[in-house]
């Protein structure tokens, strides 16, 4: 019990310092020997260890060769716990060990879960891979298309977004300077680097076209964020080229200041459109209105 109090004390002080590498579903699936849904039916804390019993309800990968889930509390900020009653989607090795970074997700009945939907489509043979879905959104004179991809040999999870604002929204409280900046089209490759040189570029290549995106500080209006950005008429061409392409290849050199693990060439980075559905088409239509 005393140790448990210490464990909670660590939660209180350091939990936000626990840093799990961001990953996508495909990485989780490839790096887990068991992917399954289970209801946790019992759990107990004893001697610095939480053990949980479970009943499997659906298997996506592996034989689930363990009967107990467990985690050991080390007093670190990455200690975690688990609830009895809900269903969880687990990504585990063959020992049943779970941690704050093992990526398990609690499933809420009736609530959509994009990872679960994709896993079920993959299991049913309705999609050839688990590459990230593309999402289309449209509201208030703005449309966007977004997906995530792994770059720098899988070390980092990045975002690619296409954005198009075709009308000025009638929002109260916006400053004149901000209003003047709306109305744009751009592609933003949001790699978690920082302080690239001003002439740094990356290439985004579809089947037969290559586009150059330059490093742009404060690329996002209304938010301070820097990213590789492709602006203007190229955005229309890029979006239309996406329709005909099964992937976008990303090439370039990033310095990865402060992140030695991601410093270097962005080769072998492909953003697949496998699970885009009709999102790209809807975005192109949105730009044409």
């Amino acid at each position: 019990m005393r140790y448990f109090a210490i464990f909670l004390a660590f939660f209180a002080v350091d939990a936000v310092a626990c840093s799990c590498a961001p990953t996508d579903l495909e990485w989780r699936y490839e790096n887990s020997s068991n992917v399954f849904i289970a209801v946790v039916t019992a759990a107990r804390y004893e001697d610095r260890r939480i053990e949980a019993e479970f009943e499997v309800t659906e298997v996506f990968k592996g034989d689930v060769p363990f009967s107990v889930l467990h985690t050991t509390l080390t007093g670190s900020s990455c200690d975690t716990t688990i609830s009895v009653g809900p269903e969880y989607l687990f990504f585990l090795g063959d020992e049943g060990l779970f941690s704050a970074c093992s990526g398990h997700q609690r499933l809420v009945p009736g609530q959509p879960n994009s990872w679960l939907d994709l896993l079920r489509r993959y299991k049913a043979g309705q999609t050839p891979d688990l590459s990230s879905p593309w999402g289309f959104r449209s509201h208030d004179g703005y449309c966007s298309l977004r997906t995530t991809f792994r770059a720098a040999r899988g070390a980092i999870l990045s975002n690619l977004s296409l954005e198009y604002r075709f009308a000025v929204p009638d929002y109260d409280g916006w400053e004149i300077e901000e209003m003047a900046r709306v109305g744009y089209a751009r592609v933003v490759a949001d790699l978690p680097t920082r302080d690239e040189s001003h002439d740094a570029t990356i290439q985004l290549s579809t089947n037969d076209k290559t586009f150059t995106a330059g490093w742009s500080e404060n690329a996002m209006p209304f938010r301070r964020r820097s990213a590789f950005t492709l602006n203007g008429a190229d955005v229309h061409s890029f979006a239309e080229a996406l329709l005909e392409s099964d992937s976008v290849r990303v090439d370039g050199t990033i310095n990865g200041y402060g992140r030695p693990e991601i410093q270097g060439e962005l080769t072998d980075t492909h953003i697949r459109t496998t699970n885009a559905g009709d999102s790209i088409e809807r975005f192109v239509q949105c730009m044409q209105q």
Binding site: A43, T57, S83
Partner: protein, 213 residues
């Protein structure tokens, strides 16, 4: 405690993105607070063990360490039953620190009976009760154990920072839980029993126990 719960929420969000978006409980505030007023046992405890008979079971049995007895129990371990999460049960998370409100021995507790932790209650659209635990402790200990009430108030309300409007529902809960006294409210003071909350420019600047008149 507040920091600890906040961090639990953050951790839960790392691994369970859907937490906090459960189905709303259809609890009646009046009934919930009446249940708290009449409850035989109230304590703040940590869940050490939780068991369902099977995944089809509708009840979860908990073994809970009582950390802070509030009404009718001493420190120690107690067995409690709750319903499933989607049926407004208390979150059966190992290590979770939770308020337990038990009307009578053997009762199957729910959020609607007053049990539960703040963030979990909020996830079930009961976020107007986020001061419930503190209000209960203050009502129970204001006169008999003023050091206990003071300690919990210190955890929750920061002198010099807390805005009066953010404490209004706390004062409201005090009045609803303790209907035997009238809370006195003026521009710069709120008085509950012998506790005086002092405000300056709608910021809490002090609270103290006045001498009995």
């Amino acid at each position: 405690m507040r920091i600890c719960l906040t961090v639990l929420i953050l951790l839960a969000n790392v691994t369970t993105p859907a937490l906090g978006q459960s189905e709303p409980c259809e609890c009646d505030r009046q009934t919930l607070l009446r249940n708290v007023r009449l409850a035989e046992t109230i304590f703040y405890g940590a869940i050490q063990e939780a068991n369902m008979d099977s995944r089809h079971s509708r009840v979860i049995a908990l073994a809970v360490d009582i950390i802070d007895p509030i009404r009718g129990q001493e420190r120690g371990r107690i067995d409690v039953k709750t319903t499933l999460p989607h049926a407004c049960g208390v979150q059966a998370m190992i290590g979770n620190h939770t308020l337990f409100v038990i009307s009578q021995p053997g009762e199957i507790i729910t959020l609607c009976g007053g049990s539960g932790s703040n963030h979990y209650r909020a996830g079930h659209e009961l976020d107007d009760l986020h001061n419930l635990l503190y209000a209960i402790v203050v009502v129970e200990s204001a006169e008999r154990e003023s050091q206990v009430a003071r300690s919990w108030l210190n955890r929750k309300f920061r002198k010099g920072r807390e805005r009066r409007e953010e404490m209004e529902d706390f004062f409201s809960l005090l009045g609803e839980l303790d209907q035997s006294v009238l809370i006195t409210i003026s521009d710069d003071e709120v008085v509950y029993r012998n506790i005086v909350f002092v405000f300056d420019d709608d910021i809490l600047v002090d609270y103290f126990w006045k001498e009995p008149s």
